[in-house]
């Protein structure tokens, strides 16, 4: 156990502590207790951080299930540190914000903070784990805690719906990812990410390598809300706003990005990996930004914007992974620039999106609505909120002097270089991305101007808006300052985070180019990408001004049925209906049907085995000759059995069964089994008597006597079972593999002092069976007794 282990376990300890303390500390807001955890962890992680040098990778391990190579091993390098700082840093700000956002008296804060701590611990565990299985465990834990947090207001139907949807989709991805991890383990023989990376090219030739890659990618895409799995994120907006800010913009949805970044050294050299990520990322980027325009709810708008921005980061990581490909080796340093841009935009996005969500929460809190059709003209009432929202939105739109500008420029550079250095059809990608950026610009303008400027309608708002309390504004203010600081001083993260992270992601490249350094600056001269940005601003402003004219017609053009949200709902309903109808079709409740399944199965399996494996054999050489009296008894038995089938009265059937029983006891006599014959006679008498008893008490109403109705399927099954078992018996008789052990028991007089072998078997050699059989008999007797005696007990009370 190292301090790093303890750091991860700390939030889990507080999951227990917070509800305990909650009862005794009702006077203060529980959030203050919870706040200590992320702050302490942030302080702990910041000590590894230094502006001028990279963190020295740390590996600590603690055995968990050593026998199958599962160790609770942690690995702290620049990438993990970046995520750890984001999780704890934004976590602190979110907890601070939630203290002012959530009411102490009306909310169940103990649950809220316990879930939040659970999530924080799980998220830290995910990004710090070196062992794939431990990573997976924490990964699922983030899904579970996210599920709990989305459904925090479980009284609302939409919350439950959103939580269920998020659960289904992320769990599906999680399982797929687990499959990928297991395949990786099978290929490489280890769960450790370090060791798999070290194994290098020896894995890539394995035929299961590409399937494993796609299984893992599916996990990353579902978690990071990539197309077409993005549909859970807008519905997850039913969560309290601090949760949306924390989970669904800054941390959890980046877990997929983390996974892609972390596994790039393993899979990056595959073209399938790079292009899948690029294409999915670009589709997600465009689709998300386009759909964001349609939204009226600010949180839904931000959800689509998050989807879009995650697509952007993903596509950058995809472009960057081309650096590892041997086919593009000469351009590898060019592609590395995309990795820098991706990681840098990841930081920026967490900063401005966290801030924007908090601002939307404030708007909601102060005005009572998040609908942009109701908001407007509150710039004078909430000037600080306006400023902070503007900083966030401008940063997202990629305008100077905010950090989003730098990463947006780097994004364009990367895509242009992608076009220049790979195939010519890739030229379409920067164009699409550029159009998506125009959409992004427009919705950013919508966030600012639709909600703060324009005409003020006091009657549309539930409350009279006024500036939010300082405590609520503190967190977004800090994030906004960070967004500005990163523009003027990008060097804050360059040497400490960006360079070492990128070097860790493409170690093969930097083995060739050891003295590479990146330059992230706000100004880099007039170039194509700057022209693109200026064009975005001009066209975006133009389109924003006329949005009311084209918005309606454009979105009406799209067919409503081709909507993934409807498709999801429809497929759920269809699945339930199909499952119900399939189950209803065979679970009929009729014993006859179940019996025919069982017997049919028996026939098919046994016959297939008999003839499929060539086990069937008819060997009559060892058979004894048949005597005439045996034949007579056999014929009598058959006649009685057939008589049962065709008799028209139940009484006659009972008689037929009795005849069969007595002829069987005759067989025991002639096959020299006197004990059996005696017992069979008496037992047959008793059971016939009991049958007669049942017959006598049949209800009079339905006692219309009729013969057994003929049904072809039943006849086939009955004949089939008879035939199957006969063939099986004949074949089994043909194979005598071992000598029977009966020889031993002939010494029963010396061994057990008994001349009756059967009896000595029953009471001496195999007395254990007999003991249990009399227990069975006893249970049956007591069972009958209780059935009869306790029948009315319930009614009398």
């Amino acid at each position: 156990m190292s301090s790093l282990h303890l750091a991860i376990l700390l939030p889990f300890v507080f999951v227990v502590i917070i509800p305990l303390l909650y009862k005794y500390t009702r006077a203060i807001h529980t959030g203050w207790i919870a706040l200590s955890v992320p702050v302490a962890l942030f302080v702990y992680f910041i000590q590894y951080f230094s502006i001028h040098e990279a963190v020295e990778p740390i590996t600590v391990s603690f055995p968990w299930i050593p026998s199958i190579g599962i160790h609770f091993s942690l690995y702290l390098d620049s990438l993990s540190l970046l995520f750890a700082l984001l999780i704890t840093g934004i976590g602190s700000l979110v907890v601070l914000y939630s203290i002012f956002y959530l009411s102490k008296d009306r909310e169940r804060l103990n649950f809220f903070y316990a879930y939040l701590m659970l999530f924080m611990g799980a998220m830290l565990g995910s990004v710090l784990s070196d062992n794939l299985m431990v990573l997976y465990s924490f990964w699922e834990l983030t899904s579970v805690s996210s599920f709990l947090l989305i459904a925090y207001w479980y009284q609302r139907k939409r919350s439950r719906y959103g939580a269920q949807k998020a659960m289904y989709i992320t769990m599906m991805g999680g399982f797929s990812m687990l499959l990928g991890f297991i395949i990786l383990y099978v290929i490489s023989g280890t769960f450790s990410i370090r060791e798999i990376i070290a194994a290098g090219d020896s894995l890539t030739s394995h035929s299961l390598f590409i399937p494993a890659m796609f299984f893992i990618l599916l996990g990353a895409f579902t978690k990071s809300a990539q197309f077409p799995f993005h549909i859970w994120l807008p519905d997850a907006m039913e969560a309290p706003t601090p949760i949306s800010a924390y989970l669904h913009s800054a941390t959890m949805v980046k877990a997929g990005v983390y996974l892609v970044a972390r596994l790039t050294p393993i899979f990056g050299a595959q073209l399938e990996w790079s292009w899948t990520i690029i294409i999915v990322g670009i589709i997600t980027l465009t689709m998300g930004s386009f759909n964001a325009l349609k939204q009226y709810d600010l949180k839904a708008l931000l959800a689509f914007s998050t989807i879009s921005q995650l697509g952007l980061i993903m596509s950058l990581l995809g472009v960057g992974s081309l650096a590892l490909n041997k086919g593009y080796a000469e351009h590898s340093l060019v592609f590395v620039g995309a990795l820098v841009a991706g990681i840098f935009h990841l930081i920026n996005h967490s900063v401005f999106k966290g801030s924007l969500f908090m601002m939307v929460g404030i708007l909601d809190h102060e005005t009572g609505t998040r609908d942009i059709r109701k908001l407007g003209g509150i710039i004078h009432l909430m000037p600080i909120s306006f400023t902070l929202t503007m900083i966030g939105a401008f940063s997202m739109a990629g305008l100077p002097p905010f950090s989003g500008f730098i990463s947006k420029e780097m994004f364009f550079i990367s895509l242009i270089e992608l076009t220049e250095n790979t195939s010519s059809w890739a030229a379409i990608i920067p164009v699409i991305a550029w159009i998506a950026s125009i959409f992004t610009f427009i919705y950013c303008m919508i966030i600012i101007f639709k909600s703060f400027t324009g005409t003020y309608h006091a009657d549309r708002l539930e409350r009279k808006p006024h500036e939010a309390p300082f405590g609520m504004l503190a967190s977004p203010a800090i994030l906004s300052l960070l967004a500005i600081a990163l523009f003027f001083f990008p060097g804050l993260v360059v040497t400490s985070i960006l360079e070492p992270t990128v070097k860790g992601m493409a170690p093969q490249v930097f083995a060739v180019h050891p003295d590479w350094h990146t330059h992230v600056t706000a100004w880099h001269g007039f170039s194509l990408e700057l022209v693109m940005t200026i064009a975005i601003v001009i066209i975006g402003t133009f389109l924003y001004r006329r949005i009311e004219k084209w918005k309606g017609p454009v979105f009406e053009l799209l067919p409503k049925r081709l909507n993934l949200f409807t498709l999801y709902d429809k497929s759920l309903i269809t699945m339930e209906k199909t499952a119900t109808s399939i189950t209803k079709s065979y679970m009929t409740g009729s014993t006859t049907h179940y019996l025919s399944y069982i017997f049919g199965f028996l026939i098919v399996i046994v016959l297939a085995t008999l003839f499929g494996t060539g086990a069937f054999r008819l060997d009559t050489s060892q058979d004894s000759p048949i005597e005439w009296y045996e034949l007579m008894i056999g014929i009598a038995t058959v006649i009685a059995a057939v008589f049962i089938l065709f008799s028209t009265s139940r009484l006659m059937s009972i008689m037929g069964v009795g005849v069969v029983g007595f002829t069987v006891s005759l067989y025991f006599v002639i096959f020299r089994a006197p004990d059996l014959a005696l017992t069979q006679l008496v037992v047959e008498t008793i059971s016939t008597t009991l049958f007669l008893l049942c017959f006598y008490f049949l209800p009079k109403m339905k006692a219309n006597v009729e013969s057994i109705r003929f049904k072809l399927s039943n006849a086939i099954i009955a004949i089939g079972v008879g035939l199957t078992l006969t063939l099986m018996g004949l074949s089994a008789y043909g194979y005598r593999l071992f000598e029977p052990i009966a020889e031993y028991f002939t010494n029963s007089y010396e061994l057990a002092g008994a001349k009756n072998i059967v009896n000595s078997l029953l009471v001496d050699f195999r007395a254990f069976d007999t003991m249990l059989e009399i227990v069975v008999l006893f249970s049956a007797g007591i069972g009958i007794y209780t059935f009869i005696k306790l029948r009315y007990a319930g009614r009398n009370e």
Binding site: A752, N756, S760, V763, D764, F778, A780, I784, I788
Partner: protein
């Protein structure tokens, strides 16, 4: 009005002793000849059923004041205890043994622990059979 079948009752009084004697014989002969606890128990039960048929439930219950459920339970218990007894003596569960003794009147006689086990079987069979039959016949629908 109570129906009384004098022939049946008289015959039963004699036959029950014969059948009981035969069942005890079958129980003890089981070790060397066909028979044993199970069939012996069934024959005893049939003797008692004959009593029930000839007389009525109430009368027989007064003559034989045995709770057959307890008899069956005792039988199971005896069988299990013979097994436990062998454990106490340090041999595997349900080990049986036998020895020859010179008993007065009977001469050289073989006594086997298996007989105790068979006695448990016998009691269980008698008890269970009669529990079933009496509880069904007492039932009024």
């Amino acid at each position: 009005m109570k129906f009384t079948d004098v022939y049946l009752q008289t015959a039963t009084k004699i036959l029950v002793f014969l059948i009981m004697t035969f069942s005890i014989y079958v129980l003890f002969a089981g070790h060397h000849n066909p028979g044993g606890g199970f069939i012996g128990g069934l024959i005893t039960a049939s003797a008692l059923v004959l009593l029930y048929v000839a007389f009525d439930l109430q009368t027989v219950r007064e003559v034989i004041p045995v709770d057959f459920k307890k008899l069956a339970a005792a039988g199971v218990l005896i069988s299990v205890l013979t097994g436990v007894g062998s454990l106490v003596l340090g041999v595997p569960f349900l080990s049986q043994t036998f020895r020859y003794f010179d008993l007065p009147f009977l001469g050289k006689t073989e006594l086997a622990t298996a007989l105790i086990f068979d006695l448990g079987v016998y009691m269980c069979v008698v008890g269970t059979t009669l529990t079933i039959i009496t509880s069904i016949s007492e039932d009024d629908i």
